[in-house]
Amino acid sequence: MASDAHGTPLGADAAEHGHGAGLAHHFDSYEQQKDSATLGMWTFLVTEILFFGGLFAAYGVYRSLYPEAFRASSHTLSIQLGTFNTVVLIASSLTMALAVRGGQTGKGKLAAALLVLTLILGSVFLVVKGFEYHEKFVEHHVPGASFHFEGPDALHAQLFFSLYFLMTGLHALHMVIGIVLVGYVAERAWGGAYTSENHNFLEGTGLYWHFVDLVWIFLFPLLYLIGRH
């Protein structure tokens, strides 16, 4: 999102205005540029909140209509793997936050190393998720012609699994995009592209990564933790 405010090559424009390195021609100061980037990224994240929000709304409607089917379906998910992934993702948020701090303090190499760590943790999450998906395929819990569920309300259990795959799938897609972004930013950070004045792209990527973590923080209890007692 913040790509405009970041790393704009020092063109003729910047020179004409007597602008410093990395300050785009239409901004007056680093502060204005940074505030714009932050506000832009948050505005984008608000659209993401409503994007996922539509799915959460569908989930809420059907869970309130068919609580038993949702409870029975939720019990087939592995709470161990879900918890493990939650821990992994929160850890990746920590490394991301520390990477952004590295950018703030001008330590590019440290930031790059922490970003690589973030990327690895994100990949671990996806691999575990892949194992969970595989298990669902084996158990015929994937909605469609071959869907089979031993439970009180198989019809509506299928709705749960449709929502499960849509929500976690959309989340995983965001993770993949995040991993690509983090890889790109790590390379730039290693090359010293981010200064303590302008590390807006790094900061924006961090916000995106934390947002993906936030979505999972809500998905985890809603999908895995229904009526475990």
Partner: protein, 546 residues
């Protein structure tokens, strides 16, 4: 002194002649050039959507369904709606006039994210190409609303292709809104406080809020429809436990506020025009400004009025009915304040003003019939009839497009540095106003008599009114062709426009026509409120007549 030369007589460099060649346009990051890219693309979609309308009105000249097969007719009105709404009206005023004007009006060199601005035009174009591709492969026949389970389980047309097109264009709309919000917050000139902003900027801001908050929800609704068609899951399929009405909720959560994406920017345009051509500050500036925000917020509370007869809970229907009537309050504030501004104003009848006055009258009719339709009992009676069609065309065509054309005529000298012919442009405003009313007023009567929408044949007793409507559509179509011709003509042969042909206030008139690449040669500083009329009389050397 004309604005084509510098004081020393050398040719002046402005955004149009700063660089030449296709590449300088397709890779531009100048908001003014991107606005022109949008102008060309939305005009293409407007023409295509208009062509569909022509074909629809041709079919409806006779009661028998003799020109098209029913399934072709279904595709015609669906594609008419899709093209006009998603590819003309929603990007229309914001992406063309908003893009051009917002940085100029707030004294900035560009939007906050110029590259994202260009990206948003490309996304719009890609979305449009998907839709055109679908059109060539037969289009869609579900109606522009894509109601489930028709769209998911029954039709065999390009639902997914058009859905992808709308999804991508939706991203473009989000990015435009995001860019405007950040720009208006962060890039205002020194001294330009919120209550010194032109009302067009306020309405663009309110529009952006809707684009940002609403669009993601229709994106997810479309995604679910596509998933349901390809993966055969049943989120909206009653056979599989789903609820089709949930789709309508998600769809209208965006698509009702989307009506305000179309009308709010035009309201902003009208505020500018009424003040300029009455030579008076807008009556109740703050009320008009907050009315924009009020409409944007209330717009999210009323979507259920599209679903009164859908099987939604009757209690929810009652709530939605009452809330819908509330939207009339900020809308009426605007109309009353424009009228009060006209009162004892020194009114001049220039072309933009004719469009603005047309807007006020037609929007009022559209708005008042909207209050009728918000009433549960009346809606149950006229639901899915031509009454609805007439109502929303009074808002979207009589309102939004009149405002759009008024704005284009107002700022055309600024955009191109040329004047258009006065006589022909005034004539076009009058022809469009008459043609519009002859087209759509009979449809109110038809609807009230019970003619349903979306059928290619009708009982013979409705023929007289339908022929009137089709005749009006011909006049309307000619009216729309006129600006197309004289605008293109003016770019080459029109007289040079001065910096401020209308004697208007506002920062955009303080720079040259067309503006320099970075909009202003020196950073403007704002010291007072907007619309400080009486402004100096219009520049004496102006020759607007041709």
């Amino acid at each position: 002194m004309t604005s084509a030369t510098n004081p020393d007589g050398s040719p002046r460099v402005h955004y149009l002649n700063a660089a030449y060649g296709l590449k300088s346009w397709l890779l531009t990051r100048d908001h003014k050039r991107i606005a022109l890219l949008y102008l060309v693309s939305v005009s293409v979609f407007f023409a295509l959507g208009g062509l569909m309308a022509v074909l629809i009105r041709m079919e409806l000249v006779t009661p028998e369904g003799d020109l098209f097969q029913p399934d072709i007719y279904n595709r015609l009105f669906t594609m008419h709606g899709v093209l006009m709404i998603f590819f003309f009206l929603i990007p229309g005023v914001p992406a063309v006039l908003g893009n051009f004007l917002i940085p100029l009006m707030i004294g900035a060199r560009d939007l906050a994210f110029p590259r994202i601005n260009l990206l948003s035009w490309y996304l719009y174009s890609i979305g449009g190409l998907f839709t055109l591709w679908a059109l060539l492969h037969g289009g869609v026949d579900t109606g522009w609303t894509f109601y489930t389970p028709l769209s998911t389980n029954y039709v065999n047309t390009s639902v997914i292709t058009v859905g992808v097109g709308i999804f991508i264009a939706g991203f473009s709309s989000i990015l435009t809104g995001l860019n405007f919000v950040v720009t208006i917050h962060r890039m205002r000139a020194p001294g330009l406080t919120w209550f010194r902003l032109p009302l067009f900027v306020w309405s663009a801001y309110a529009t952006s809020i809707i684009q940002i908050l609403g669009t993601p929800v229709i994106a997810i609704a479309i995604l679910l429809v596509a998933a349901e068609r390809t993966l055969h899951i049943g989120i909206f399929d009653p056979k599989l436990g789903g609820d089709p009405i949930l789709f309508q909720h998600l769809f209208w959560f965006y698509s009702h506020p989307a009506v305000y994406i179309m009308i709010l920017p035009s309201m902003g345009v009208v505020s500018e025009l009424v003040a300029t051509f009455s030579r008076k500050p807008i009556f109740g500036y703050k009320f008009v400004a907050f009315a924009s925000i009020g409409i944007a917020v209330l717009g999210f509370l009323v979507w259920g009025h599209h679903m009164f007869v859908s099987g939604q809970s009757i209690y929810a229907g009652v709530i939605f009915s009452v809330l819908s009537m509330l939207v009339a309050v900020p809308s009426a504030i605007k109309v009353f304040n424009w009228t009060a501004t006209l009162y004892k104003g020194s009114i001049s009848w220039d072309t933009p003003m004719l469009y603005a006055l047309g807007f006020i009258g037609l929007f009022t009719i559209g708005g008042l019939t909207g209050v009728m339709l918000a009433t549960l009992g009346i809606d149950a009676h006229v639901h899915d009839t031509y009454f609805i069609i007439a109502h929303f065309h009074y808002i979207m065509v009589g309102g939004a497009i009149m405002g759009y054309l008024g704005g284009l005529h107002f700022w055309w000298p600024k955009i191109t540095g040329r004047m258009y012919p006065l006589f022909w442009s005034k004539l076009s405003a009058i022809v469009i106003f008459i043609g519009f009313n002859v087209t759509f007023f009979p449809q109110f009567i038809l609807g009230y008599l019970g003619m349903p929408r979306r059928y290619h044949s009708y009982p013979p007793e409705f023929q007289v009114l339908n022929v009137m409507s089709s005749a009006g559509a011909t006049v309307l179509g000619l009216g729309y062709l006129m600006p197309l011709v004289y605008f293109i003509w003016s770019m080459r042969y029109g007289p040079k426009a001065p910096s401020n042909p209308w004697g208007a206030t506002g920062l955009e008139w303080q720079t040259t026509s067309p503006p320099p690449v970075e909009n202003f040669l020196t950073q403007p500083i704002v010291a007072g409120p907007p619309y400080t009329y009486p402004a100096p009389k219009r520049a004496p050397e102006v020759t607007v007549g041709v």
